[in-house]
């Protein structure tokens, strides 16, 4: 009846001590979110330029950043990732959070001089990270 409805409407929607911005923080994506980063390497830094003729620059790229808590579909992560997050937060913090790791790679072609002076063109698998995931 009218009295009940009006008394209900007078009640505050959220408890006075409740902090709205705190509440929404848990759904914000982390500032340094898990993503792909470049690292341009020249083989002369490894002192390999005496036998690797090409390419001159090699960018293997790498994955770095925090994994958001609700990662279901965003990184192609399996449901296990959220389970691991819940275990870390609710049950046992010694279980690590999911890590930001490469999910896909591309190959690299190199031209090398062999110790006997012969020359080899080789194509190697999984030498450049192209996609990150949380696992």
């Amino acid at each position: 009846d009218q009295e009940t409805v009006s008394s209900e409407l007078k009640k505050p929607l959220v408890p006075a001590s409740f902090n709205l911005s705190e509440y929404f923080k848990q759904f914000l994506f982390p500032q340094n979110e898990c993503e792909l980063h470049d690292f341009r390497l020249s083989f002369s830094q490894l002192k390999w330029d005496n036998w690797i003729v090409a390419p001159h620059k090699y960018n293997p790229r790498y994955c770095k950043g925090d994994c958001p808590r609700a990662v279901g579909h965003r990184y192609g992560s399996p449901v296990h990732t959220m389970v691991q997050n819940i275990i870390h937060e609710k049950l046992d913090s010694s279980v690590p959070r999911p890590s930001c790791v490469p999910a896909k790679y591309s190959p690299l072609s190199v031209l090398v001089i062999e110790p006997d002076g012969s020359i080899a063109y080789k194509e190697y698998e999984d030498m450049i990270a192209t996609k990150c995931t949380c696992r």
Partner: protein, 295 residues
């Protein structure tokens, strides 16, 4: 990690063994046979020590391989996807020993000087399967011939002095006539010798000894006035040997796999070969295997 056997011998100056003990392609890749990049990567991890000193390659050979690299990969080193070739490895060998035989006799028209060549294939690993093999000729810069020239190449594979009984008997010598045409604009002449070298590389021969002679005459059709004696062949530089290979190890890039199969192949080269025997794909292969089990 151990240097490969060939490196140890070159370093020790020991005579190259001509017959390696037969290595099955199922051999586990232990330290000595660790393919390509892994061994230097481990060296950097262990002691940051830079690479062992290397013999310097022939400039012309390096020039050819840099052109091949530009044709196959981008500046960043990514293999070009529009290339449909099956090879993921190309090795270029320059002859480690060559000597000219007696110069030909112009009067009787016998062949001008032919060259004895020895190629050391110690770098070819057991997991690298030969797809194509080419003798690569180039010219001395000074050469200039006004008209196209027709050539015939005769190639004789020589059996090493002593051959181990286990290797399949290779007939003592082959003559392998192949024709090609020299024109001013060609920098490189490729002579396909796959049929000849296939059995030798497949039987893990560590070195190949051959004698090559090339005879060229001016193309009569285009220049009837040209005298018909064979040309003096000194302008041809001793050929390099080019091997196009398919490296079946897990570290190598298998483009046709990544194009056709979603899931990566299982690591073992033998499973990979088994799957490649079933072009319909893994499910079909699975079906065949299970029916085999049932039978």
């Amino acid at each position: 990690s151990q240097a490969s056997r060939g490196e140890a011998q070159i370093a020790a100056g020991a005579p190259l063994e001509t017959e390696a003990e037969p290595r099955s392609s199922l051999q586990p890749l232990d330290g000595r046979h660790r393919p390509g990049l892994l061994s230097p990567l481990f060296k950097v991890l262990y002691d940051g020590q830079t690479e062992t000193p290397r013999l310097q390659p022939d400039d012309r050979a390096l020039h050819y391989m840099k052109r091949l690299y530009k044709a196959c990969a981008t500046k960043e080193g990514i293999p070009k996807s529009n290339r449909s070739h099956l090879y993921n490895t190309v090795r270029l060998f320059t002859p480690c020993a060559q000597h000219k035989q007696a110069p030909g006799d112009q009067v009787t028209g016998t062949l001008p000087s032919s060259v004895d060549l020895l190629f050391n294939l110690d770098r070819v690993t057991a997991v690298e399967h030969l797809l194509k093999s080419v003798l690569l000729y180039t010219f001395n810069n000074s050469v200039s011939f006004p008209s196209p020239v027709k050539c015939v190449c005769n190639l004789v594979i020589k059996e090493p002095e002593f051959s181990s009984k286990t290797l399949p008997r290779v007939p003592y010598s082959f003559t392998f006539p192949s024709q090609f045409e020299l024109r001013k604009k060609y920098r490189w002449i490729e002579i396909d010798v796959t049929a000849l070298l296939q059995p030798l590389v497949a039987s893990n021969k560590r070195s190949i000894h051959m004698s090559v002679n090339v005879t060229c005459v001016k193309d009569q059709l285009q220049h009837p006035s040209a005298q018909d004696g064979p040309l003096n062949m000194t302008f041809l530089v001793a050929p390099s040997l080019l091997l196009y290979l398919n490296d079946t190890s897990a570290q190598a890039y298998h483009r046709w796999y990544s194009l056709h199969y979603k899931k990566r192949p299982s690591q073992g080269p033998d499973q990979k070969r088994e799957l490649s025997a079933y072009p319909m794909g893994e499910e079909a292969a699975e079906g065949v295997r299970s029916s085999r089990h049932r039978r």
